[in-house]
């Protein structure tokens, strides 16, 4: 199907189903119940999950396949975002030109950065990419303020020219749209105590994510993907097999830069604003963490990692003591307060602590990331003895 093997097509199908039914899957708890705090099925988070999924999928093409660890990919995301918002300010609020230009601009910028940084390998490469990203961030925050808006960032305003759009009716703010379909348009479905939200922007972003995922599967299964894994495995043998590893790594770098630009453009399409912090080194580090946490070099891993981190950031950080008291209110007062005291450091303002602990636990116990965790659970159920040396075993399959 679609030129994919049965297994890959199955994976794509599963991801497509997950995307389609995300509003249900992410909202498992009824409204008003204590557990509703864990519901993530609102448009902004769903959009972020798929957009950062795209970012991580792209990053994985570089890092997962070639092993080149870029610490500057947030710069491409940021540059894509700035390109998109400028399209919206100058041309039209339609998201199509914004997204296309963001991919293009990020691609060009990554070509430049990659061309220079790929002269070095290992940690030297990492530091070069980090240096470019930090320079982009520092300049965008300060001297480039006329172009980037600096600290306050850029948002569409009434007064922007927008030459392709007609004048806005009085009292309306410019809204990102796809040929008139507002990205914020939502429909709600109420089933008993449950409420599910279907958002236009989310489904557009999810569709783009599926295309991006499909293309990444094709790259993984193609000779290019194999060559990129060869780069990671043994560059010496590659060169002595008549293959020039430089253009291969550069291709991977630019492709992943374009994915980052696409994610940046989509972020703007869904939420029309850009701030320079998007390019700070911690943002670059975040996509590294997403990819490793999910399982670098695996197909589905980066999406899982991105979802995991963004979900933690948006859900756990919002749990305050009030919510905790709500959860444990059925207990006697003493125990209730005790439970709240125990959990308090790990939620709300302590969400970073939980994240840090989870990073450590995953790396220590699941070296292959969340994907390995899934495989282990799967193997438990299958009760099958997996030979770790065989290519179908858990530790060796390079592209699951």
């Amino acid at each position: 199907m679609f030129g994919l093997s049965k297994r890959d097509a199955g994976l794509l199908f599963v991801v497509a189903l997950l995307c389609l039914f995300a509003p249900f899957i992410l909202n498992p708890f009824p409204e008003g119940s204590a557990m509703a705090q864990f519901n993530g099925g609102y448009p902004d988070l769903m959009q972020r999950l798929v957009i950062f999924g795209i970012f991580a999928i792209g990053f994985n093409i570089l890092f997962g396949l070639t092993g080149y660890l870029s610490f500057g990919h947030a710069a491409f995301l940021g540059v894509g975002s700035y390109a998109a918002i400028w399209m919206m300010k100058l041309l039209t609020m339609n998201v199509i030109p914004a997204i296309m230009v963001s991919v293009l601009v990020a691609g060009l910028f990554s070509l430049l950065v990659g061309w220079i940084s790929l002269r070095r390998s290992g940690i030297y490469f990492s530091i070069l990419t980090l240096a470019f990203a930090q320079m982009s961030y520092a300049l965008a925050y300060s001297v480039l303020t006329p172009i980037t808006g600096g600290e306050t960032g850029l948002q569409p305003k009434h007064t922007d020219p927008r030459i392709l759009d007609g004048a806005l009716p009085a009292g309306q703010s410019p809204r990102a749209n796809l040929f008139g379909l507002d990205m914020k348009a939502s429909t709600q479905l109420q089933l008993g105590d449950w409420v599910f939200t279907f958002n236009a922007g989310y489904y557009i972003a999810a569709a783009i994510m599926l295309v991006a995922f499909y293309l990444s599967i094709r790259i993984f299964r193609s000779p290019l993907g194999m060559m990129l894994r060869a780069v990671k495995s043994n560059q010496q043998r590659m060169n002595y097999t008549g293959l020039n590893s430089k253009p291969y790594t550069l291709a991977a770098f630019v492709i992943s830069g374009m994915y980052a630009g696409l994610a940046g453009g989509l972020l703007v399409a869904m939420d029309t604003q850009v701030g320079a912090e998007r390019m700070f080194w911690t943002a670059s580090g975040e996509v590294v963490l997403m990819t490793i946490l999910g399982g670098a070099g695996t197909l589905i891993g980066p999406i899982l990692g991105a979802g995991f981190i963004k979900y933690m950031e948006n859900i756990v950080s919002k749990i305050n003591d009030n919510v905790l008291h709500g959860w444990f209110s059925f207990m006697p007062d003493g125990i209730e307060n005790f439970m709240v005291t125990i959990i308090h450091p790990f939620v709300g303002k302590g969400w970073h602590l939980t994240l840090g602990l989870l990073f450590m636990l995953v790396v220590i116990f699941l070296p292959g990331g969340l994907v390995e965790g899934g495989q282990r659970i799967g193997n438990l159920f299958k009760r099958k003895k997996a030979d770790p040396k065989s290519p179908d075993g858990t530790t060796t399959t390079p592209a699951e």
């Binding site: 902004d44 988070l45 009292g171 109420q190 604003q273 912090e277 950080s317 969400w351």
Partner: protein, 454 residues
Amino acid sequence: MSFSNLTRRGLIKTSAAAGAGLALPTYLSAASHAGYTNAPQGDTVTLGFNVPQSGPYADEGADELRAFELAVEHLNGGGDGGMMQTFSSKALNGTGILGKKVEYVTGDTQTKSDAARASAKSMIEKDGAVMISGGSSSGVAVAVQALCQEAGVIFMAGLTHANDTTGKDKRANGFRHFFNSYMSGAALAPILANEYGKDRKAYHLTADYNWGYTTEEAVRSSTEAFGWETVNAVKTPLTQTDFSAYIAPVLQSGADVLVLNHYGGNMVNSLTNAVQFGLRDKMVNGKKFEIVVPLYSELMARGAGANIKGILGSQNWDWKLEDQLGSRYSGTNAFVQSFGTKYGFPPSQAAHTCYVQTMLYADAVTRAGSFNPCAVVEALEGFEFDGMGNGPTLYRADDHQCFKDVVVVKGKENPENEYDLVEIVEVTPADQVTYAPDHEQFAGGSLGSCNAGA
């Protein structure tokens, strides 16, 4: 402690069909609400408090959150009512807002505009918040204000001081109680001229981002009007931690005043460094060298420790105002009393502004008789009030900026405890810090019109 479960949109509770769970699916579009975003249904209303809980401003965020919780308690009739006793508008009566019990959700802005917007969006989309408040930087305030404008909810800014928030980036759905860079400059300049003389040479170190730019511009133009000369202005990176390279050349320039347009960690470090260099012990041009920090908070003063002693700066409010300057600032003691009783220490200016913003919002809704953002905007525009700790105050309709007296403070020489770090030098009356809505430092934006959302 009892607390009912947080609800989203509350609409489920009232839906008769909900209980059965067998009813046919009901299709709702956002537009079928009461004509504006997140119209509260049922007997509760949800407010969103979006403050920095991680990152360098986490402590300031924590103080803001305390104030919000206190405000909610007072609105729902708990505690001693705080400023509701002194507030000139008597619309609020401790039964929530328009009879609906106030509930709230919290989020972490991380002092990053992206994270702040994500958090605010989750409050609007998931929790059904009808008003967002909080924040500790202008970048976040501008980003969230723009979001609230698009989404059709009210934004009551927390601590944001850059001119841009009610200048080039102002929005109809956003309101700022806190003062701004221009006001700091205008309030400080006469007192600086008075204390340090009119023949002074100033050297500015400015944080290299929007707030820094507006503050430098404001302080420069105000002090130059009093005869000061600006010998140099150097921009410093936000990520700088060691300012020695910027401070070392100050004395060589012949300047006799150093103005630190820095906030937060930048200010704590640059001031500490400047004092280390012994600048304050020097005599230049026959005058004692002085350092000025246009805006500083109680937390920054605490971070700077003994270095803050004698440093002049401006504040939006101080908890000693009413005790020291009398009943013009009524409301101050009421607030300090209830905050101090609940938490054991006096509130910061960030806490004050967040508390007041919540009260003002609740009052505006009550007076308007509706949660509709456009009705709230109308009720707040041009609203004159008193008894909220700042003396008579105006929410100007032209730019949604509050105009009130500005407090000029000085680091205390012998603080009695860690909450008693500043002393009030003088209060610059509101009319001296008022500017025309089209003042050049605020040019380039327009409010647009209010957006009620779906």
